[in-house]
Symmetry: C2
Subunit: 65 residues, 2 copies
C-alpha cells in the first residue's frame, strides 16, 4: 500500500518530527510509513487524513488485490 504522506508533508513544509507530534506518534512511525515499511492502523490513518484535511482514500492508495 502506497501513500502520499511525504508529498503532502513537504508541500506543507513540515518535518517528520512535526508531523509525528501532530499525530502523537514517534518520528520512527512516520519514517516507516513514508518508506512503505508498514501500513498504518486505521486510527493513525484517520489522524493523518485529518491533519492534511483529506480523506483516508485520498492519502492511502489501495492497489487492486
Amino acid at each position: 500500500m502506497k501513500n502520499a504522506i511525504q508529498e503532502l508533508r513537504k508541500q506543507r513544509r513540515m518535518t517528520q518530527e512535526e508531523l509525528a507530534d501532530l499525530c502523537s506518534v514517534t518520528r520512527q512511525t512516520i519514517i516507516s510509513l513514508e518508506n512503505g515499511r508498514y501500513n498504518p492502523s486505521i486510527l493513525l490513518a484517520h489522524k493523518i487524513a485529518k491533519i492534511f484535511g483529506l480523506t483516508i482514500e485520498q492519502i492511502f492508495f489501495f492497489e487492486e488485490e
Copy 2:
C-alpha cells in the same frame, strides 16, 4: 471507534459468514468488529468499504479524541 457494519450487512441481507468470505477474513473477525471489540486494520477497513460501495469514513466513526 464505532461502525455501521452490522447495519449495512443486514440491509444487504448478508450473514456474518458471507461477509467474512467476501473480505477473506474469518467469521470471528466480523463478529469482533460488529461488537466493537477492536478496530480493523486499514486494509480490512478498505475491503469492507469496497464491498459496501462506500468510503471508509462513511462506515467507521472516529469520535473526537
